[in-house]
Symmetry: C2
Subunit: 797 residues, 2 copies
């Protein structure tokens, strides 16, 4: 049975209109106050230049529209009790959202020094865009927000991520028409093709067309409205349009539109939840709201039109401190909202405004979903040791390590059906994580055909050929307190690198705010890596994301390079339990040698780095002749192989092998919390012995990580030096001068002491490489089996 909307949400009556309009006026007043005023916040004396801030920052243009929508959604919540969060695509509307939180009282609850009186108002205004204050965008400091408004394009992905597995939640997502021009935003309308009306909540996009961005019009703002309607309808939405600048007309029309949209959402959801749904994708509502940019602001300044144009984007009256006419205009503008009716003698919002606020956690600025850590329930994790690969001795078993992670995640899915999801650009099977399909299909709301594999509306594995959607959905999912992993081809993780960076910034800042509860980490699995994309082209070979995560603060950045399946399981378990990090896990999907038993893996991963005595020949000597270090699966194989060659062919040489799983252990402890102590660093690397370090990524990364360690210049780093094509795995290591033979020669060239036979061994290595060169050159004639070369002779014996 569908409840008629009119039962819960009556037509906007005079009392409600008065409340909504007063609240909107108050929000606009507070927005302008933040941009301009450092004193006289309630205009209780005539406005003077000295009341104006010395530096005028902030964005007016989008703000009145944001507050207008906010006020109406609050009314909807008041009447219906709908659990709702508000995402502000036009992030420049920061002051509007701060005003909303202040009016709702949340701001003072979270920041008790910003009181609900005149001194508090003064502080509210002064802190905005000021040193020691708050940023100008909707940001981490804004209560009620899970969406930073700096880099545009992600409001819908965050909204969809927030409502997956949150059946009772509604996410209002205001899309700016500037933002709507970005690729990521355009690619994110399709969220509804993955949104299940029974077990997910709803997103109500409000495309706010005010027609202009910083310095010109927008494409959607200047298209024929019929074409815009066609476009959004083609994306699958039921389009509701509201346009104008007349008050109270706009209030009535928008209230009706919102009621219609909400009714439609409830009808869809109730049908799906009461078994009256055929499984096809619903046509979800979407509102197109057309208002002038800078609505209610000064129409003209110095004879030039401002409202309705890009000129209202930031500070429409720029000369108020020096130009008395501008100052008068500002005063008149502020007074047009009637502040004397809106704030009482103390400066607190009057009762009329408070009546407009939903109760407690239903206030959008106080909704706990927007501080998702408070709602987080830990994952019910199976014991990762149960998925161990049995390793009797190193390098005797070969396995696809990520397949084990797939089995682990299958059971996480099974045991946590409401709070864990895997996100991947159509690569779950390719990345050997397909075990998850034993317990969940791929989510898909478009047509399902007979013969489709693991696909359907009930599915909860997220596959879409868009790194932006995958990454953004996971962000929204974790920021609202749930858990997940984004698995992707290593090279194409760069597509969403800016999202990784921006989410890192969010977590970095949240770390300073005691009221923000920690949220589950953003886990990113980089697989199908550079070294083993030998079968694809050069475009698929790029370990660049590591480079970018390294630049994030130590409070957030974590990079793990497990060398085998048991280490991967241990690392994954750790990451799934962790909070508020960016966890990068890098490991390939192809069959690879396994090194450690589960017990050894556990200990190795707990330390983050360690000596592999079985691989080396230094017998715990405090002064090996050379140290071969490695971080990453393929380079570990080459390093162990190099050590083996040295062991067999130059037995007098003392070689130590060090493997690094947790890359951040290399950094000095003062620069990263995982940085190993000087004592431990010296235990592993000594203070003086040369280190040949073979690294999965670009070599420069290691140089920057070990800077400041004893005699850092002694680290010779091999790594990916941007050489690749479609070739064999072994040829990839040769092209990048990181093959076992290169490492042996490096060891000989840098060892502090050379036993007899070193020169001959170098010659042998050169001969091996020459043999390989011939192999490549002659390949087109011979077409030999590739297999031998991919694994290395030594390993197969």
């Amino acid at each position: 049975m569908t409840t008629a909307v009119s039962d819960l949400l009556p037509t906007l009556d005079e009392a409600d209109l008065t409340r909504v309009d007063a609240w909107w006026r108050a929000a606009n007043y507070l927005t302008i106050g933040q941009i301009y005023l450092q004193a006289n916040p309630l205009l209780r004396e005539p406005l003077k230049a000295e009341h104006i801030k010395p530096r005028l920052l902030g964005h007016w243009g989008t703000s009145p529209g944001l507050s207008f929508v906010y006020a109406h959604v609050s009314r909807l919540i008041r009447h219906t009790g709908q659990d709702t969060i508000y995402l502000t695509g036009p992030g420049h509307g920061g002051p509007a959202l701060v005003a909303a939180g202040y009016l709702e009282g949340t701001y003072s609850e979270v920041y008790p020094d910003v009181t609900r009186d005149e001194p508090g108002l003064r502080k509210l205004f002064r802190q905005f865009s000021s040193p020691g204050g708050i940023p100008s965008h909707v940001s981490v400091t804004t209560p009620g927000s899970i969406h930073e408004g700096g880099e545009l394009g992600y409001v819908l992905v965050h909204a969809f991520g927030a409502v997956f597995d949150n059946p009772d939640l509604l996410a209002i997502a205001v899309v700016g028409d500037g933002e709507a021009e970005t690729g990521p935003l355009e690619g994110s309308w399709k969220g509804i093709s993955f949104l299940n009306p029974a077990h997910d909540g709803a997103v109500l996009p409000i495309l706010h067309l005010n027609g202009a961005k910083i310095s010109g019009p927008t494409v959607l703002g200047r298209k024929d409205p019929a074409e815009v309607r066609e476009l959004l309808s083609g994306h699958g939405y039921d389009v509701i349009e509201v346009e104008g600048d007349d008050v109270p007309g706009m209030h009535h029309r928008f209230a009706a539109a919102l009621a219609q949209a909400w009714q439609s959402i409830r009808t869809i959801q109730q049908a799906a939840r009461e078994g009256e749904w055929d499984g096809s994708r619903p046509r979800w509502p979407l509102i197109v709201l057309r208002t002038p940019k800078g609505w209610t602001g000064p129409a003209e300044v110095d004879g030039v039109q401002v409202t309705g144009t890009y000129r209202s984007h930031q500070v429409p009256l720029a000369g108020v401190r020096d130009n008395p006419e501008h100052l008068a205009l500002l005063e008149q503008w502020l007074k047009s909202y009637g502040p004397e009716e809106l704030f009482d003698a103390d400066g607190a919002p009057v009762a009329l405004l408070r009546e407009q606020d939903p109760a407690g956690e239903l206030r959008m600025s106080a909704n706990p979903h927007a501080n998702g850590g408070v709602l987080t329930r830990e994952l019910d994790l199976p014991d990762f040791r149960d998925y161990a690969i049995e390793v009797k001795s190193p390098a005797t078993v070969r396995a696809e390590s990520t397949r084990k992670l797939g089995e682990f995640m299958r059971d996480i899915y099974r045991d946590n059906p409401d709070r864990f999801r895997l996100f991947s650009p159509d690569e779950t099977n390719s990345n050997r994580l397909g075990a998850v399909f034993e317990v969940s299909d791929r989510a898909f709301m478009e047509q399902v055909h007979p013969g489709d594999d693991a696909l359907g509306p009930a599915g909860r594995v997220m596959e879409v050929l868009s790194e932006h959607n995958c990454h953004g959905w996971l962000e929204g999912y974790t920021l609202t307190g749930r858990h997940g992993l984004f698995a992707t081809y290593e090279a194409f993780a760069m597509v969403s690198a800016s999202q990784t960076i921006q989410h890192g910034k969010w977590l970095e800042e949240a770390d300073h705010l005691p009221w923000r509860a920690k949220v589950p980490s953003l886990n990113v699995l980089l697989t199908s890596t550079a070294w083993r994309n030998d079968h694809n082209g050069f475009s698929h070979q790029g370990p660049g994301l590591i480079q970018n995560v390294l630049t994030q603060r130590g409070t957030v950045s974590r990079v793990y390079l497990p060398p085998d399946a048991n280490c991967l399981l241990s690392v994954a378990d750790h990451c799934f339990r962790s909070k508020s990090y960016i966890n990068l896990i890098v490991i390939d999907k192809q069959p690879q040698l396994q090194w450690l038993t589960m017990d050894e893996a556990l200990e190795h991963c707990a330390r983050g780095a360690g000596i592999w005595n079985w691989a080396g020949t230094d017998d715990g000597a405090s002064d090996p002749d050379i140290i071969l270090a490695c971080a990453g699966d393929v380079v570990t194989m080459e390093t162990v192989a190099a050590a083996q060659i040295l062991k067999e062919r130059l037995p007098g040489m003392r070689v130590r092998v060090v493997n690094v799983v947790d890359l951040m252990t290399l950094v000095r402890p003062k620069d990263h919390p995982h940085g190993m102590s000087d004592t431990l660093f010296t235990e592993l690397f000594t203070d003086t012995v040369d280190v040949v370090f073979s690294f999965h990524g670009y070599p420069g990364a290691i140089h920057q990580l070990v800077h400041g360690r004893p005699d850092a210049d002694r680290f010779r780093v091999r790594g990916f030096i941007e050489q690749g094509t479609t070739t064999t795995p072994f040829d990839m290591t040769v092209r990048n001068k990181a093959s076992r033979y290169h490492l042996v020669m490096d060891a000989i060239n840098n060892a502090r002491r050379l036993p007899q036979g070193a020169t001959e061994l170098k010659e042998w290595c050169q001969a091996q490489l020459a043999r390989h060169e011939r192999y490549v050159v002659e390949h087109l004639e011979d077409m030999p089996e590739v297999r031998d070369w991919s694994l290395g002779d030594w390993a197969t014996s």
Copy 2:
């Protein structure tokens, strides 16, 4: 007068049908041959396991559709002489495009060892996806391509970039339905909102819906066709649909659709060029082509449907070497194309196939626009010295440096109206480049209103709020031989970082192909930088792109940090003249101190780095007490200020100031062609004196760059350490421990010799910083002018 299409392009007749179909069958045959065969290329003996390659790589699924379209476009060209290039969104269809180039003879012209006979065929097959051969995707090695098919999403941006200012060119852009799920692709349909039918060419998008990607269906493939039509119509296109798998029916229907599309394009263009156009955006045609994935391949394998499903994506028959049934199926499949009719006794394509090829450079595989360097006309560059800022002595003039670049580009626009464009996400004015609007409007094909600034269909300045579009358009523009610059907020350059990386890979690989002419460089101006986004939030503060360009090969990567306007002009002039580089130019837009006269700037930039004697106090001594080095505008100001403080307050200390403009000079010459010689490095930095290096970007970059230089550990690097918010410019330097006071203390802490007064000076610096801390804390009470703090006292005196 419009020429009727039927005059030029008759209905497909029997003779043409025979040619087109034979060519299509030949292309399919060659595609499969590349995937499977190492011998017996013409099946002149029964197929045996030993004829099969040891490793089966490649992608069949998309290939037959690509070849089908190619064949029909070739026919169009034959009849009409239309200058046409072909861009393959589904890059996995590499073998199809190689087959096309081979059939057209271009392949043998470019790679003479791949002859048009049986041995050549054998080589063609063997080289595909083999060591020493060619990659599996459409790549830089594929003649006729300007589009690498690895990272999906950019086919339309490349196509639009190619036809801007190329009025007679038609770019066929096949969009895969997998690719169509990506954000960048969805955001690029709007190219037509910026395409002028008079002075630009045309893009004909062909959305090839075969319904599946690697392991499942696509969103567009499973939407109601009416909804897809609505979506594309909403993007502004006139949609033409062709669907089926029947032959010859599909030939007739597709030929008609293509004729209709071409007629429509010609009609639009002729109207615009003959003055019969009202300036409104035309409805350009677009073809939706629905064919089964793997069309003409084996319908079923082992009882499971393959054609029409994701199972045909790569190698549909995987077991051919071991499974005789699969082998027989493969033979049958190959023979279904009738190779005996298609290749003559020598193995060359028969006359029927050759008749299908357009003549000479009209063959799409030989079109010079796809090897744009051969068409490049150098820019007619005004003398950049004419835009110089007069600098009588250092630090006496303050100016917005990028404004000078804007004036320079204004005149480049004026003098090169057909081959230069600026691309920017709505930030031309914000970035102080607005002088270009004196000679060109913004390109905009949607409605223009009275009162709009510098906006209209005749405009050639490209502004769209999409870094992906800007970057991709510039790539297409330069790959077809023209010149330009992408100017963007530094932080948001990370949005398109993966494009920078992939374009770098293209240029790196092109460098090895003698037949590929060098193309104009991809110039990227990073402005509105981290340090001076004090007025925006933390999200706007990120110098990450430098980090990524550093990992590219030395043949391609260039990073410049001009400290002032005159250096910027010199660097920009150099970049506009250069070929096949990624040139990153990093400088802020805010008013900044000017240091060098134009003559000094010229010399300084030519060397890439130099000692600023006027700033230091070492008087050319070979052993200064400390070296203060810097790269980047704000950090240069802080460095010079620190040197000034030391000069005034610790006159006995010998301080050398080194400024670096060309970051790559720091690298050893063996690692980068710009790397300065050891002698020069020692001249600037000595071998032993400690260096306090103040860097614009993340400090780790310098550590990796100077690795291997004498005693690299002596470099103490200050830089952006991921600290920011909305604050004052000076506070940004303090938060990142890179202020003048930090640098003075660093100098004192690391100097080899300390004159008296050093301890007192350190205390003074600490006091200054404490004063600043108080300033920030007390700011909300005092609201002092920000200006003093942003510039530094010393500079204003």
